[in-house]
């Protein structure tokens, strides 16, 4: 507004002096209504200011020559850099288009299966929204992920640098899959160790080659688990792989109840067995032995009798 007032003065004086110059000025203003070009308007202003204070005897310098080479570089209407500027999520679409271009360029490169491709921690959707700063629909982001995964499947030995660099833009910071724990091994006494948790129980299993004897906290399986079902579930990892008479098991299990302890042993035993025989992993996975059940007791809520139970409805 401050800048507007001297212009107002100019306006008034011009209206007195010449209507032609006014017309020119107005036309200049209306030509760029949205994007004011400060340099241009300022130059006219100073010029006219000079005119206002000038003397009649003073020699007026001629207007600078129009440089037609420069003339076209400064369009009257600014064109957005991205063609997707008006789409609502231009940066995202740019990313998408860029990846599509890359894919189209390298689509002929050999690929490996998804399991063999290097594991990458792509941005999660909320994180990606923050990075880009645009609202992105879940479905569209899934499409982007598919592209990323397809590009990631290009044979790692043949992957061009450009692809690798562009893929790195989409990886979560911190390298979540980078630092893996050292794979467990059988120790020098032939023991494999596995830990498992279920409900409030946690179990540590030491597995050695043997003939099918099981000790749970120094007690036999029968003394530890009076219920046959619990005994079966505790030894299920060995049972489903037909290894029940090939190993001896030592278990230390703490906390929780009988069922929780039995199922904590299941998990620990499955993990210990994978140390001895890693090839059994698909079988154990199918048997549901190495799947972690991380559910715990649901908390009690205020106003409820238990986690979900409500007091009896009373009419008054």
């Amino acid at each position: 507004m401050a800048r507007q007032s001297p212009r107002g003065v100019v306006h008034a004086m011009q209206s007195v002096r010449s209507t032609t110059s006014l017309r020119a000025f107005l036309s200049q203003r209306s030509a760029a209504p949205a994007y004011i070009i400060p340099g241009a308007s300022l130059s006219t202003r100073t010029q006219q200011w000079k005119n206002a204070r000038g003397y009649a005897t003073e020699v007026q310098p001629a207007a600078p020559e129009i440089d037609f080479a420069k003339f076209h570089t400064q369009p009257t209407r600014i064109i957005p850099r991205s063609p997707a500027y008006f789409s609502g999520s231009p940066k995202f679409i740019d990313h998408l288009l860029r990846l599509e271009d890359i894919l189209a360029k390298y689509v002929s490169l050999p690929t490996v299966s998804a399991a063999e491709a290097p594991r990458k921690a792509w941005f999660k959707l909320p994180q990606f929204r923050d990075v880009v700063g645009e609202p992105i629909a879940t479905k569209k982001y899934k499409g982007l992920l598919k592209l990323l995964q397809r590009l990631n499947r290009i044979d790692p030995n043949l992957m061009p640098k450009a692809v690798r660099l562009s893929l790195d833009d989409f990886i979560r910071p911190g390298n979540p899959y980078g630092n893996k724990p050292a794979p467990a091994t059988v120790d020098n006494l032939g023991r494999a160790r596995g830990k498992g948790k279920r409900k409030a129980s946690s179990a540590v299993v030491h597995l050695v080659e043997g003939n099918g004897e099981v000790l749970v906290n120094g007690k036999t399986l029968v003394e530890a688990f009076p219920r046959v079902h619990d005994r079966e579930s505790a030894t299920w990892a060995l049972r489903c792989t037909a290894r029940l008479d090939k190993y001896n098991v030592w278990v230390a299990v703490r906390g929780g109840g009988t069922t929780g302890q039995a199922e904590a042993i299941t998990l620990a035993l499955g993990r210990a067995l994978m140390v001895h025989e890693p090839a059994l992993k698909p079988t154990l996975r199918k048997a549901g032995v190495i799947t972690v059940d991380r559910r715990r007791v649901e908390r009690k809520k205020p106003g409820h009798v238990k986690a979900r139970k409500m007091p009896t409805w009373v009419k008054r």
Partner: protein, 505 residues
């Protein structure tokens, strides 16, 4: 000082007009302590609608939805007669006609009980022996006899060893007439009681005399009568009914043997007993007259442990057979009984002459063996009905250590914790020095564990052949069950075998 109390206010304090107060008849009021008004009851003169009786709950009545109360069981239905439910609970069924007969099943005989080739096989108990075994109450209600066509037991390693032992004691070799003393322990369902049953069956096969105490707890749970032994021994107590029933068990089970033996000693306490009378009649005498049962039992015991007759009565003497004594649930004898003295002090189980007699057998005899004609003492502990007695646990450890040759003064010899209130009488009962007689074995503890895989396989095949198990019994399957049964605990194997599962077709 001016009082803050305004007198004019007091003048305004007037009783509210009577009409403002609710009339006692218009609104029903509750008790004076109640602040809430009572709901209006419907006019009793008005007709009640069928579904609507006195609307709303009364004071202090639960307002939640009321369920219809169950009618109390009417007292007209009589409970079953006295003893019927117990009889049902204690009933022993030895045969299941729906089970298949196992072909080629061998019986327990003198030959098969020592045949190591039959190890792992299930041997049937001979049918004539079943009455004897029933008489000595060898079968317990929950041992699973009722699921097979005929009762049988597995010939496991411990059984074979016992068979050889019994064979040697009855035989003619150098082991003839030795006395074996064992306390049998083991984990739950490991087959301790059935081991005793097998011992009884073998003893009957070998024509021994069998004395049993099928439930040691019955002697100390104050369910049978008791009284002081005599005026000289006011601190010892005799249980006449229990002794009579022991004599009755022994009599029925060993009738054929006792009827061939004759009284060959003078028994001054029993005037009615004459030399030359059969031992069967002697025992009958005690059964018929419980008051003299303890004296009769002593006489019978003296006759059976006699190695020769008193002078003049040699013609009545025939060599006495070995004796088997079994007690099940030994731990109950290691603490105060439920009986009381006249001063209402608890009576220790060791003050009951019945208990004292059987415990004294564990100690080595003074001059000769406690069982001079040979035999076995098998006292089993129980784990399902077991009082936890610290002194007894230590005593068993000490017995095992002593048998292993550990010197009682050595540091590794199990010691009592003096702060855990040990019972010295319990320890005393198990302290046994080296027997003087060569014929007498030292007291030892035998722990029964699980059966081996081969024995488990034989046992499971017996289930399959009886039609109880419809699965292919192979080594892998048996190995799995063996592990699930805690390393072949036989009771658990039986539990797994009898779970009826139809294999997926």
């Amino acid at each position: 000082m001016v009082s803050s109390f305004c007198w004019s206010c007091l003048t305004r304090l007037r009783q509210t007009p009577r009409t403002v107060l609710p009339s006692p008849t218009a609104v029903p009021r509750g008790p004076a302590f109640h602040t809430s008004a009572v709901r209006f009851f419907p006019n009793p003169m008005m007709r009640k609608k069928p579904g609507q009786e006195l609307g709303g709950p009364k004071y202090r009545q639960s307002k939640s939805a009321r369920m219809k109360k169950k009618k109390p069981v009417d007292g007209k239905a009589r409970p079953p007669p006295v003893g019927e439910r117990k009889a049902l609970r204690k009933r022993i069924v030895l045969s299941n006609p729906n089970a298949l007969e196992v072909e080629g099943m061998q019986e327990l005989t003198e030959e098969t009980m020592v045949d190591s080739r039959l190890r792992g096989n299930v041997l049937a108990l001979p049918v004539p022996m079943l009455d004897q075994l029933r008489a000595v109450q060898a079968f317990k209600p929950k041992q699973g006899w009722s699921i097979f066509r005929r009762p049988g037991t597995v010939l496991r390693r411990e059984t074979l060893e016992m068979g050889r032992l019994f064979d040697n004691i009855s035989g003619v070799g150098e082991d003839k007439g030795t006395a074996v003393k064992k306390i049998i322990t083991g984990s739950r369902k490991s087959g301790k009681s059935v081991h005793l049953l097998q011992a009884m069956a073998m003893a009957f096969t070998k024509k021994w005399v069998v004395f049993t105490v099928p439930e040691a707890q019955d002697l100390v749970s104050a369910t049978t009568g008791y009284g002081p032994l005599s005026d000289e021994n006011p601190n010892l107590y005799v249980q006449n009914e229990a002794t009579a029933s022991l004599l009755s068990r022994t009599l029925i089970a060993n009738k054929t043997i006792l009827s061939k033996l004759q009284v060959s000693r003078i028994h001054p306490a029993l005037s009615a007993v004459q030399p030359g009378m059969t031992l069967e009649n002697l025992a009958k005498f005690g059964v018929q007259d419980p008051a003299s049962s303890w004296a009769v039992f002593q006489a019978l015991w003296a006759e059976l442990t006699a190695t020769s007759a008193t002078t003049g009565l040699e013609k009545n003497f025939t060599p006495r057979p070995p004796i088997l004594v079994t007690v099940d649930g030994l731990a109950h004898w290691m603490r105060n009984s439920e009986y009381r003295t006249t001063e209402f002090e608890p009576i220790h189980a060791h003050d009951l002459v019945f208990v004292r007699h059987f415990l004294s057998l564990l100690k080595p005899g003074k001059d000769e063996s406690t069982l001079p004609n040979g035999g076995a003492l098998l006292y089993a502990t129980s784990t399902s009905n077991n009082p936890s007695i610290y002194s007894f646990e230590v005593a068993l450890k000490q017995v095992a250590a002593r048998h292993a040759g550990v010197d009682p003064s050595a540091p590794e010899f199990p010691k009592l914790d003096p702060y855990s209130n040990p019972d010295s009488r319990v320890l005393e009962a198990f302290i046994s020095t080296k027997p003087t007689s060569a014929q007498e074995g030292m007291l030892e503890v035998q722990t029964i564990g699980g059966v081996s895989r081969d024995e488990a396989r034989g046992f499971m095949e017996y289930f399959a052949r009886s039609g109880l198990l419809r699965e292919t019994v192979n080594d892998e399957w048996v190995g799995e069950k063996w592990t699930l049964a805690g390393g072949g605990v036989i009771g658990e194997l039986e539990r797994l075998g009898r779970r009826l599962r139809v294999a997926a077709a």
